[in-house]
Symmetry: C2
Subunit: 230 residues, 2 copies
């Protein structure tokens, strides 16, 4: 049994949830409000951010990259040819490159600031930076979404899945970050048909359903958020 410290809008936590789901692993979810800097949580992860995965008999695992490597090493083999980190070295390089692209670069430039400004700041105290979203930050992040969406579209037109022929961690990472900001209505899907068609395929997977069924009081979801064919 796994325990995941997460936030429903944390894009990196969503990636871990999708990865656990694709491996068929049941997980208990604990919602962590990282801005409260809870002492017991800091003891688990001195970096103080989500996600943190706890498995029996292992130390706490912070961060999406570390969890992906763990899942592949311990639970990857039963997936056979559908392994999310394929065996061939060149494929592994491309999957890891794109996984980091979305979990690090896309997060830093787009999904991180959008979620912080639009969601987290509602719940943070003013002395911790809470309050109204910064329009400058929103504008910059939304511009970056367009550039990342075009890159996803280019990959989706070139390949069957983002990193190659089969579904990998790269698809889960991209879809996790997009799903968080899609809830907020911040993905201009009409700009890229290939990206949209790829996302519809990922969004239809059973591992995605729990994300789509979670709604946050006071934060309305975009009109098409749960539509599988929008």
């Amino acid at each position: 049994m796994f325990t995941l410290f997460h936030h429903p809008f944390c894009p990196r936590s969503r990636f871990v949830r999708l990865a656990l789901g694709e491996h068929g692993l049941d997980t208990r979810l604990v919602e962590e409000l990282v801005w409260d800097r809870r002492e017991a949580f800091l003891a688990l992860n001195p970096a103080g951010d989500t996600p943190v995965l706890i498995a029996e008999g292992t130390p706490a695992m912070p961060g999406p990259g570390l969890v992906a490597e763990f899942l592949d090493e311990i639970h990857g083999a039963p997936l056979g040819d559908h392994r999310l980190l394929p065996r061939a070295m060149n494929d592994r390089i491309e999957v890891r490159r794109l996984m980091s692209w979305f979990n690090d670069k896309f997060f830093e430039e787009a999904s991180g600031p959008l979620v912080t400004e639009r969601v987290y700041k509602r719940f943070m105290k003013p002395e911790h930076g809470g309050g109204a979203p910064s329009t400058d930050v929103l504008r910059a992040a939304k511009a970056n979404v367009r550039y990342h969406l075009a890159y996803i579209g280019w990959l989706a037109r070139t390949r069957n899945f983002l990193a190659g022929d089969q579904l990998t961690f790269a698809d889960l990472a991209a879809a996790a970050h997009l799903s968080a900001i899609d809830y907020l209505g911040d993905v201009p899907w009409n700009e890229d048909d290939a990206a949209k068609a790829w996302y519809v395929r990922i969004k239809s997977r059973p591992s995605f359903r729990p994300l789509l069924n979670e709604w946050m009081a006071g934060v309305p979801a975009s009109a098409h958020y749960i539509d599988l064919d929008f």
Copy 2:
């Protein structure tokens, strides 16, 4: 034969150089000025940053984490018990956690801003953000160095090496980032004897020598930078 696109002051590139050196792998170095956004380099790594490692027959490998996983998978076994990513799962988790702590968190909060402000901005054109260092950024980054140094000292007092009994990627990551800012005189070694004693051990390794022998014209090294017993 490997080719590494790097910058002498890029702390993450220094990590890759140490890792290659510990594996006994010869590498051709190409100095990349990432702020020039050279087209051929962007084709190798759309993220546009260093390090990028090229090996024969593989796609370009951007970023320190990806390179570490590659080196362990392809070149780790001959190191036997001295493997930099140990075999036991719990050790792997701790090494990966600390490797990311230094290559991501320490970089973002301390070594990245210090190197950008003190070195890169000398070479960047004003329209790309070049010019005098920002004293606010320097002050914040230097405060963060103290907090990270205390954490390294705590780990070094608790364990033989930072992640456990043996030398791992975690030590190389911490030492790589410290070495870049130690050149600039930005490490208050007198604040933590355990951290200093640990660093002296890492700095004495043959893999470290190429870093210590590189000086940059116009950027003076701190008085003790090359001293193995300072």
